[in-house]
């Protein structure tokens, strides 16, 4: 069964450094998403992406964040200058539209630790 994959599974970085989290969505999906979950808290929407541009973003997704689909398979989230509070689990998801329904499939997540 096709699945969303994410790399790395765990990333440790120092405050102020740039990180890029990578995702490979399901191949025939056209909609892509990033979510964040701070330890012990709920899953929060960051951004959605369709047709090579951002469809919607939350207030969390500030200028420090950017997304890109550099080729036909990868979908990346970049954090330019990480802060301690960026430490979280980051989930990628993808979906396709079927009769107006979007069924999202989530990757296993990347745990980001900022020290």
């Amino acid at each position: 069964e096709p699945e969303v994959t994410q790399t790395p599974s765990h990333q440790v970085t120092q405050m102020g450094q740039e990180v890029i989290l990578r995702c490979v969505p399901i191949s025939n999906h056209l909609y892509f998403y990033w979510y964040r979950q701070i330890l012990g808290q709920k899953v929060e929407f960051l951004v959605s992406f369709y047709n090579n541009e951002i469809s919607e973003k939350s207030e969390i997704f500030d200028d420090q964040f950017s997304v890109e689909r550099p080729d036909g398979s990868n979908f990346t989230l970049k954090i330019r200058s990480t802060k301690l509070e960026d430490s979280a689990m980051y989930f990628c998801a993808s979906s396709k539209e079927t009769s107006g329904i979007y069924e999202q499939y989530f990757g296993p997540g990347t745990r980001l630790t900022v020290t």
């Binding site: 709920k42 959605s48 296993p108």
Partner: protein, 109 residues
Amino acid sequence: SQQGEEDPQALSIQEGENATMNCSYKTSINNLQWYRQNSGRGLVHLILIRSNEREKHSGRLRVTLDTSKKSSSLLITASRAADTASYFCATEYGQNFVFGPGTRLSVLP
């Protein structure tokens, strides 16, 4: 806020018992999904129920949806210790999903 809210926040039961978790939301939705998350792990999709459906089953899971009350319930029958996890409802608004804070279920052997 459009988010779903689960209750209870935490639930502790004995193995073999049934566990019921509820989710309420605020505006019209296209569908609602339930996810499980083991501690520190990824999200596992359990079941999706569409806005025109009232009940859905999958193995030991039973999900109901009451659009008039804007609520859904997840029932796990004959619970097992391996069911211990956090359970989230996610409501779809257009293309995006909004997650509730989750219910932490502990199934004691």
